[in-house]
């Protein structure tokens, strides 16, 4: 492994933070705090920092809850391998991206969910969010099924996602959210 080409790629993509490895709540809290402090030190608008932090948190908790490679620990704690990145594109727009392995069976459900969110305008997304929150239709033992909507609320562009099929059981899921 040569680090220099890796560094060049990070620079080319405008990557400010990157992490690949086991994602857990303490990792999320640690990186989240680092992101907040770093952006605060360059006097980025606190509302922008909050948006980046919120999207990052939803993505990391999605990886922990929905990855096919997640592992259960005591007291309903989960960890899962995943990748997360915070960067800025060449037009000066911040983005938050993440990736993990999903079950092929979940591909359609996730695609439909995100496509539906992307088809709505901001008002529609807000109504859908409130409707889901009220009905509790997306609720499971760790979440409310509101994560993608929460990201969309903070996004300035449609949620950009992709599945790459690895084999008959596994699919590589990636999502990129422009703030």
């Amino acid at each position: 492994m040569k680090m220099f080409p890796f560094k060049e790629m990070l620079e080319r993509e405008g990557i400010i933070f990157s992490f690949s490895g086991s994602i857990s709540q303490p990792v999320l809290a640690g990186i989240g705090e680092t992101i907040e402090n770093e952006f605060d030190s360059i006097d980025l608008d606190p509302n922008m920092i909050m948006k980046i932090f919120a999207v990052f948190t939803e993505q990391m908790q999605n990886v922990m809850s929905y990855s096919k490679e997640r592992r259960e620990h005591r007291d309903n704690h989960l960890t899962s391998p995943g990748i997360c990145v915070v960067g800025m594109n060449d037009k000066g727009k911040y983005y938050v991206a993440s990736a993990n392995i999903m079950d092929v069976k979940d591909e359609q459900k996730v695609s439909e969910k995100i496509d539906h969110i992307n088809s709505l305008d901001k008002e529609g997304q807000k109504r859908y969010y409130k409707e889901l929150r009220r009905s509790g239709k997306g609720v499971h033992n760790r979440g409310a099924g509101l994560g993608f909507l929460e990201m969309a609320k903070r996004a300035s562009e449609p949620l950009d996602y992709q599945f790459t099929t690895l084999d008959k059981d596994r699919s590589f899921f990636e999502i990129k959210v422009y703030i």
Partner: protein, 126 residues
């Protein structure tokens, strides 16, 4: 009833459900990974608390800097529990505090207020 106190952590708020002065408060950040597990004692406490007869006026102070989507659902359910108590005649006041700089906390408060129109729900700038 005994007062319920939970200390803040990096990703969970400071909670005090005070049965002496009838002031309930949740203050800080809320993004646990197991939101429903984390708040289960709080919800259980509230259920028992509101089952009491002859409660004086109850105030809930919410001062939340940031919360994740599962906490959003949890807070909805918590307000729902309060609304039910309110409909049974309990006098309840909800104060939602936000920092002037924190647009999303202000918006979130307004969204909850819309959902609980029948309640005494105040959005207060700190």
């Amino acid at each position: 009833m005994k007062t319920l106190t939970i200390e803040a952590s990096k990703y969970t708020p400071e909670i005090e459900m005070n049965a002496e002065n009838n002031i309930l408060s949740i203050k800080g950040k809320s993004y646990p990974e197991n939101t429903f597990d984390f708040y289960a004692p709080v919800m259980a406490w509230l259920q028992e608390y509101f089952a009491q007869e002859d409660l004086p006026k109850v105030t809930l102070n919410m001062d939340i800097i940031y919360f994740n989507s599962s906490s959003s659902k949890l807070f909805f359910d918590l307000f729902d529990l309060l609304e039910e108590a309110h409909e049974k005649g309990k006098e309840i006041c909800i104060n939602w505090y936000y920092d002037d700089e924190n647009e999303s906390a202000e918006e979130a408060g307004e969204d909850f207020k819309e959902d609980f129109e029948g309640m005494d729900f105040n959005i207060i700038k700190k």
